[in-house]
């Protein structure tokens, strides 16, 4: 017989799950939040999502061209970063700033560290923080939701930034997203649908979101805040389900994920209670991202039947 057989190391069958499908699942899970953002903030949300996605894909392609590497956009991770970035921007943000954010996320946070899976920090989080520090006003100008419905075009504070706004906002408003905030963070309902989808599909385990939200709840309560309002507002839900669960920047083991989640909850609650930036979620995720290698080392699995040396 002609010798054209493939000779490779076992195993010879592979699961149908691929990097691309993982990313596709995350994208699908973000669809409810994207729809919610369009309903709440109008078509400009979609424009923003398109701009960040297109620029993320372009930056990754350009980077690969410049560094003479095969193009990696087919793994869809650039689209995940692009969509998550858009979800972390206010709807009124000038488009060029969104492009700057995409540059920071893809080129600085991801590709310079070696691309997919090599970054130490969540690209979208890092971009959000860089944009916030660089363009504070634009990044904290919040359009009132449902303006197309009520016909008034104005802006206001987010419930977290202003006690009086918080007082006027009901739990239901907080839950549905009828509040000021970034595109994708406002509708807790949409994020929960997406988050549960990810858990149900086996893409993420509930460990990080659960420990994060639970710790946050407990500490907000200890610090004298309204714990229900705290977990329903700001970027907590999108952070807990979509950003903190990013494989690359979260620990391997379930034990590590618990430590990670508790750390996130604690830092977020502290920043919200005592910090001057209304950025508990992004800062806590960035800080915990940096600790991941250490958490991983601390929580290595115990090999079955190992003998301690």
């Amino acid at each position: 017989m002609e010798s054209k057989l493939l000779v490779t190391v076992s195993p010879h069958i592979k699961s149908p799950m691929t990097t691309q499908k993982v990313m596709l699942n995350v994208l699908i899970a973000l669809v409810p939040a994207a729809i919610a953002s369009v309903i709440l903030f109008g078509w400009r949300s979609l424009l923003l999502i398109a701009v960040t996605n297109i620029s993320c894909v372009l930056f990754e392609t350009l980077f690969n061209m410049v560094t003479k590497r095969p193009n990696t956009v087919a793994d869809l991770s650039a689209l995940v970063t692009g969509t998550l970035l858009a979800m972390n921007l206010p709807v009124t943000l000038p488009l060029w700033m969104a492009v700057v954010g995409a540059f920071v996320a893809i080129v600085i946070a991801k590709m310079l560290f070696g691309g997919l899976g090599q970054n130490f920090a969540n690209p979208a989080i890092l971009a959000r923080i860089v944009l916030l520090i660089s363009f504070s006003t634009a990044m904290t100008t919040w359009a009132k939701p449902l303006q197309w419905l009520y016909g008034e075009a104005n802006t206001g504070a987010t419930p977290l930034a202003s006690a009086s706004v918080m007082a006027q906002t009901s739990y239901l408003d907080l839950f549905l997203g009828n509040k000021g905030g970034c595109l994708g963070e406002v509708s807790v309902l949409a994020l929960l649908i997406g988050g549960l989808f990810l858990i149900f599909r086996g893409i993420i385990t509930p460990t990080i979101p659960f420990t994060y939200i639970a710790t946050m709840f407990v500490f907000s309560w200890l610090f004298g805040a309204d714990p229900v309002a705290e977990i329903l507002s700001g970027g907590l839900m999108i952070g807990a389900f979509f950003m903190a669960t990013d494989y690359t920047t979260s620990p391997f083991t379930e034990k590590g994920k618990i430590i990670f989640g508790v750390g996130l909850g604690l830092i977020t609650a502290v920043i919200r209670a005592f910090g001057s930036y209304p950025e508990g979620v992004s800062f806590s995720i960035l800080l915990m991202n940096i600790l991941v290698p250490y958490i991983d080392k601390l929580t290595r699995t115990k090999p079955f039947g190992r003998v301690k040396v």
Partner: protein, 488 residues
Amino acid sequence: MNATSFGKRSHGGARLPHRKHTAELETVAMPAPQSVTILMSQHIGVPCKPVVKVGDMVKTGQLIGQSDKLISAPIYSSITGKVKAITEVVADNGSTVEAVVIAAEGEETLADGIAPPKIDTLPDFIAAVKASGLTGLGGAGFPAHVKLNPSNLSEIEFLIINAAECEPYITADYRTLMEDTDDVMGGILLVKEKLGIQNVFIGIEDNKPKAIELYTKLCADKAGVSVAALRSRYPQGAEKTLIYETTGRVVEEGKLPSSVGCIVMNVSSVAFLNSYIRTGVPLIKRRLTVDGGAVNEPKNLIAPIGTSVKDIIDFCGGYKEAPKKLLMGGPMMGLALPDDSYPTKKSTNAILAFTEKECREAPMTNCIRCARCVFVCPMSLMPVGIEKAYEARDVQTLKELKTNLCIECGSCSYVCPAKRKLVQSIKLGKALILEDAKKKSAQKPAEKADQKAAAEPEKAAKTEKKADGPKKAAVKEEAVKEGTDNGK
């Protein structure tokens, strides 16, 4: 006793497609082929020396190879004919091995003196097991007379019969369970009685409900024998996993099952043992599954040991289309063959021929650190960390991560969405640890005594040069092959 449900272990194991297409296909006996190539090393341990010469006439069941070393097993002719050649051939694992080639001639006749062995005492029994040529039929090929003769026999509490057959496609053990029921039960009771073991578990994965039902019934009036219905989670049939799932005991690294009072035997091995005691016909043929999209008629068949893959495929109606991959063994741990001239061994439980379509896989990407490999590893290792450490040639971390404990079941590579070649990296990582140990022991020969662990594999590495090809040789060969494949 009733079937008990086992498999509560939360960590580890992969959900695999079963693809047991041949499960209900009754076994057919394959007639003796025109020629057989019988390897002199078909087991873990010392290779045999041929005891026949070119031109000798041999009968079926006649001794053709043996060794005076303990860890070895005699080898018998599987057909009647003339010794055509005694030559070196490349075995499925890539090592070079001596082989006796026999061309069929004359009528199939059993060798003189084949008769049921006379067994009175335990040493008689062990001698009979050795004479039978039995080596583990589940795949590893460990000589049975060594396994059944542990130094702490009085401490052995459990005989565990491995009928998990957790690899996809393979149904040979299942057919043994269903067709050779008397031999299976006879063999179990024989070993139980001869060795004086109190408890027997027959571990069967719950994707074989008919077998579980049948054996639960058969065990009902057998004191101390029960069926353990195992959750279908690969690799349920891995020795240490099986021991843990049935008895809750953990075999420590570097130790044998006997250290926790267990002996594990493959179901086809016990069935063969019973037939040997009945008839005196040594291990010259075995049941194997032939399947895969490139085979015309998938089958379970009993073929003489040493039959070439080509003859077996021809017996199964030939190729449906040109195969892209030929496997000896299952899809998770089997070896890919460069062509179909390779002969079967005592441990060959399956031949799979995959089409180009069945071999297609998604492109490899960077590791996305999803930790699926960590979650499925039955040994609770961190394949992702081992891969990184191997890439950095970091021997210290490779050791810390207990790379040596990996059983190469393939679960990590299977689940990896990034399609990383984890098993390959781990195998190479093991080789790196060995190399490092060798270097160190060469530097400080005085400390050699401390490095018991290091010295043992070293022995294996030495014998490898003498072309007996235990696993280590396979690792290197495979790595080389893989390398050239990537180079295309």
